[in-house]
Amino acid sequence: MIKLTIDGKTIQAQEGSTVLEAAKAADIFVPTLCHHPQLTPYGGCRLCMVEVEGARTLQPSCTLPATDGMVVNTATDKVLDARKFVLTLIFSERNHFCMYCPVSDGDCELQNRAYDEDMTHWDLQPNWQPFEVDASHEFIILDNNRCILCRRCTRACGELVGNFTLGFEERGANSLLVADYNVPLGESTCISCGTCVQICPTGALIDRQSAYQGKETEVDHHIGVCVECSVGCQRDVLTRDNRLVRIEGDWDAELTHGLLCDKGRFLPLEDDRSRLLTPLVRKDGQLKAATWDEALDAIASGLGKAQGLAALASTRLPAEDLVLFKSIFTDGLKAELVTSLEEGKSTASVAKLAETMSKSFESSLDALKDADAVLVLELDLVEEHQVPGFFIKRQIPEGIKLIVADGKDNRLAAKAHVRLTLTAGEESAFLAELHKALEGKADDEGINQAGALLTSAEKPCIVYGKTLAANADEAALKHLLAVAEALGAALIGVKGEANSMAAAQLGLEAPFTPNGYQAAFVALGDENPTQKLTKRLEEIPFVVAQAAYYSQLTANADVVLPVTMWAEQAGTYLSLDGRLQKFEKALDAPEGVLTSHEALLKVAETLAVKPDTDWKASLTKRTPTVEIQAV
């Protein structure tokens, strides 16, 4: 620890902190614009300048290392004049019209800093040079008139996401924020993760969907886990008047530190499917609106007559619902098939291995953050489960070695140092070869190269996904484990939906073939059912569906119960690497719509089943592939 004096106060600070960090730890506010806690300090805006005894000029506190015995003053006249000067310059450079900007009055850091300095007017007038507004992107609007050239967006696109789409063209006063080599943002390599929009201090980068819908300082915030895939990033869901306004990443989240992908940030607000608002019962061949009681009666009568019941639940449902579901249909009704809509494809094989070996072998996603070599098997981390892909991509300039093995088109492979072919079904042979390659003895040169890269790495990592889990037999998986052990590599198994892991822990993994089942109960939740599923259900005479939205599946069903979508229900989710995270309800459901949990309880009551609702114990009964911890 070192000691320094700031504004007369003696402060202890960690060795290696900057003056800004030391001041922040002591609750001394120093204004900044280009600084962001998640990014490497840049030192560009010059707003954070402070007086340091003995220094020739004012010094930027965001980059200046704090030293023992340093004496700093953050509020002298010189410093205050400098701040006003910098702000005046910024306002005069481009066109800052607060009047009709969506971030004005609360969400704009430039405006707030000017207010902090009690600025009532400008001493330098703007040039009135018009700048381009790029509205070509589906979700993002780039307005150069509001840009203060702080580079937070560019730095985030590189340092945090590893996509390097945003950059700067020209230099000096002609510097311009551009995408790729100056193409419209909508035609660029942008992957719509939206990190730039979230990190932009002004209204230069805004999200179309939520512009003018509500200020950050005035809406309701709901921090919780994302339910769009098995990574489980932490999000902040902004609502206003019971409406979804915007979704943002949580900067304070341990694993993801604010990162989200388009699936978690933008797409949920694009959902325009029709809501189911009342129960429906098929009468005379037609689905007609009914009361809950009528629907429950119809369920009781339909299920009671049936021989062979198949029960399927969506893995987007909270763990509490899945446990309840299993308790009702497996323990209570002893249904012939109780499984998830994923049918265990992304989990069954590995879960079985963990059970057989009685040990967990997968690691936390954290392992990716400082890995120096990564082997990705049959998984495109640019298309799905994107945030782990960010962890890898952003280290490529730092020297991480990437090996991608896939048989299909794989966008991540484009960034790999070594690209290998691995066709689905050939996993066992491939992994056997890879094992040999660790000593350079594989037949294929490419695999040998990969082996060499992995053996020379200090922190190697192997990532695999649904395709491998679905196609690898026990031999293949044993090879995989052997390779990981030989390398001392972290193994990361990417699963499917938000609660794939929970479904695996509950054993909801059986495949579904409509072999003469007379009835089916589908707890669909807000999932979009596949055509395949819908077709298979057509063969079953009596189908009950619990769903939030209309679909062909619900149109074919015999009884439909309207339930909540993700934002209207609270729940717990188990991520691919064992993190148990919560989501608190953010919206009130429409009148007459119940949560899946409430609907299941009603169904249980109607069928005279007393379910066990202690979900915590159920999740840990089976040896998991990765250790489970509450976050």
């Binding site: 805006c45 010059r46 200046l64 400098a82 230099r171």
Partner: protein
């Protein structure tokens, strides 16, 4: 260039002229010719000596002798006794202590006039730069051999430290100290970089070395690498220097072929390889950390410092960055010793400096003279006076970011400490001499345009401030400036210095500060009277708003 051995100055202020200074001058000219001394004695007028009661004055220097109340009839005696025979004429001599500070230092000056002394430019123009054999025949790679075979890295650093060599790129940082910092930073990978980005307008001293004596740089970089523990180096040459790049590449190839670059040089176990990195038209890449960023493939933007390149430079490894001229001194210092180097120049700034003479003078070009020469000597002796008999108005020393100095500072010795004490910057040694036809507003305008254009854009004060300053100067030159504009310019110059991220921004304000400090009346004429005293500015009455 041959130098004269004596300089004689005749005061020519209005009082002196009234008292017959012109006759004195003409008689001196005649007499010097009569004694056949024209080649050895340089004669000129000096207008800013104030000594009302003993005008006209005749100053002889470097003898530091001042004769007062001189009449034409005194001249033949003075010329014969003093200039021809070397004996001071005591009856006419007056004390220098009565004079203004500018001349008073003359009494401290003894010895011969600084004649050209070529160390950096020793081989330039005399050897074939494309022949490594030529270089070797002229003591080439001898210093390297000595260092690798007879000295330890610490001993090498010690010689450079003792020599007092200071960086010639503009900052004047002691080279030995810089090497010591890098040597003492523990890391198994270190680099040596030669900054050959020479983009300061008017400066082309490095070009001569790169084109005329490229092996000197290679040798120097290897000595530096050995001293600090580096095994790889880069020469960052500005892209526009095509000939320099090709000659340096050829030199590198030749050195490699001779085993003077690569593994195990001179069988001593020392390995070093050198690459050229060409710049792409950015002045800012002459700033050492922007240069490093450029080599790494990033935008040429200066980094936040600390840490400095000596601890975290290229690829975050300890790096030495030296200017071409600095490096060109190294082999000579090793060969001849630190004491030899200290005997040239001034105590605080030993050695020679290559000055670039530009502007309204009769002879422009490069000279290499011991540090400490004055501007007046440069103009009178080497540049052979102002062109067309014009009078000296201002000089800009040190390139575009240097200081604009008026005539009153002409006699300051041009070494790092004297200049810094006088509040002016020596920089890269470019000397732009302006006569009475130069408009200070126009000059500042041109300079600010250069900074505005070359600013990298990372920090707000430089990116926006330079553009605003330029626009303001344009408006002043169009006759629509206001007094508030002058206050704005003054404020911009202060804040640019205080807040900018690197030297470009920090010194961009110097021209603004200097013209307001030394030539305020001329600037105010543009604003108050809407007149450009030299007639240079357009003064169209049109206000400019957008300069893209």
């Amino acid at each position: 260039m041959k130098a004269t051995r004596s300089m004689v100055l005749v005061s020519s202020d209005p009082e002196s002229l009234d008292m017959g200074a012109l006759d004195v001058f003409n008689t001196l000219q005649q007499q010097i010719a009569a004694f056949g001394l024209e080649e050895e004695i340089s004669l000129s007028m000096i207008s800013d000596v104030s000594k009302k009661t003993q005008n006209p004055l005749v100053l002889v220097y470097p003898d530091a002798v001042i004769y007062g109340s001189v009449k034409p009839e005194d001249i033949p005696h003075i010329v014969e006794e003093h200039l021809y025979k070397g004996r001071v004429v005591a009856e006419k001599q007056i004390s220098p202590y009565d004079l203004t500070g500018q001349i008073a230092w003359l009494s401290a000056r003894k010895g011969t006039l600084p004649a050209e002394n070529r160390i950096v430019l020793k081989n330039v123009g005399l050897i074939d730069p494309e022949s490594i054999d030529d270089y070797i025949v002229n003591q080439g790679y001898e210093a390297l051999g000595t260092v690798l075979q007879e000295m330890t890295p610490q001993e090498t650093i010690a010689i450079i430290m003792n020599s007092g060599l200071r960086g010639r790129g503009g900052a004047g940082f002691p080279t030995g100290l810089k090497w010591q910092f890098v040597a003492s930073t523990k890391n198994d990978k270190k680099y040596v970089i030669c900054n050959a980005d020479e983009s300061e307008p008017g400066t082309f001293k490095d070009r001569l070395v790169l084109e005329g004596d490229p092996h000197a740089i290679i040798e120097a970089m290897m000595i530096a690498a050995y001293a600090v523990g580096a095994d790889e180096g880069f020469v960052y040459i500005r892209g526009e220097y095509g000939l320099a790049i090709s000659r340096m590449q050829k030199a590198i190839d030749q050195a490699r072929a001779y085993g003077l670059l690569g593994e195990n040089i001179f069988d001593t176990g020392f390995s070093f390889d050198l690459h050229i990195h060409a710049g792409a038209g950015a002045y800012i890449c002459g700033e050492e950390t922007a240069l490093i960023e450029s080599i790494e493939g990033n935008r040429g933007e200066p980094r936040a410092r600390p840490p400095y390149p000596t601890t975290a430079g290229l690829w975050q490894k300890p790096t030495v960055v030296n200017n071409v001229e600095t490096l060109a001194n190294i082999p000579a210092i090793i060969r001849n010793g630190a004491d030899w180097y200290k005997s040239i120049g001034t105590p605080s700034s030993p050695g020679t400096k290559v000055y670039t003479i530009l502007g309204n003078v009769n002879v422009t070009g490069l000279i290499e003279v011991p540090m400490g020469i004055t501007l007046r000597e440069v103009i009178s002796i080497y540049a052979k006076g102002m062109k067309d008999g014009a009078s000296f108005k201002l000089a800009q020393t040190g390139g575009s970011s240097g200081s604009i100095i008026p005539a009153s500072l002409q006699d300051t010795p041009m070494d790092f400490d004297s200049f810094s004490k006088a509040g002016v910057s020596l920089g890269s040694g470019a000397l732009l001499i302006g006569d009475e036809n130069v408009c200070v507003v126009d000059l500042a305008k041109v300079l600010l345009n250069f900074f505005r254009f070359e600013s990298c854009g990372k920090c707000n004060p430089c990116r926006i401030g330079n553009k605003r300053a330029y626009e303001t100067l344009v408006n002043i030159s169009e006759g629509v400036g206001t007094l508030k504009d002058l206050d704005d310019l003054h404020m911009l110059s202060q804040q640019l210095y205080e807040l900018s991220n690197c030297g470009l921004g920090q010194t961009a304000g110097s021209p603004l500060y200097d013209i307001l400090a030394h030539f305020r009346a001329e600037v105010e004429a543009h604003v108050k009277l809407k007149v450009c005293p030299t007639g240079v500015c357009p003064m169209s009455g049109r206000r400019v708003y957008q300069i893209v």
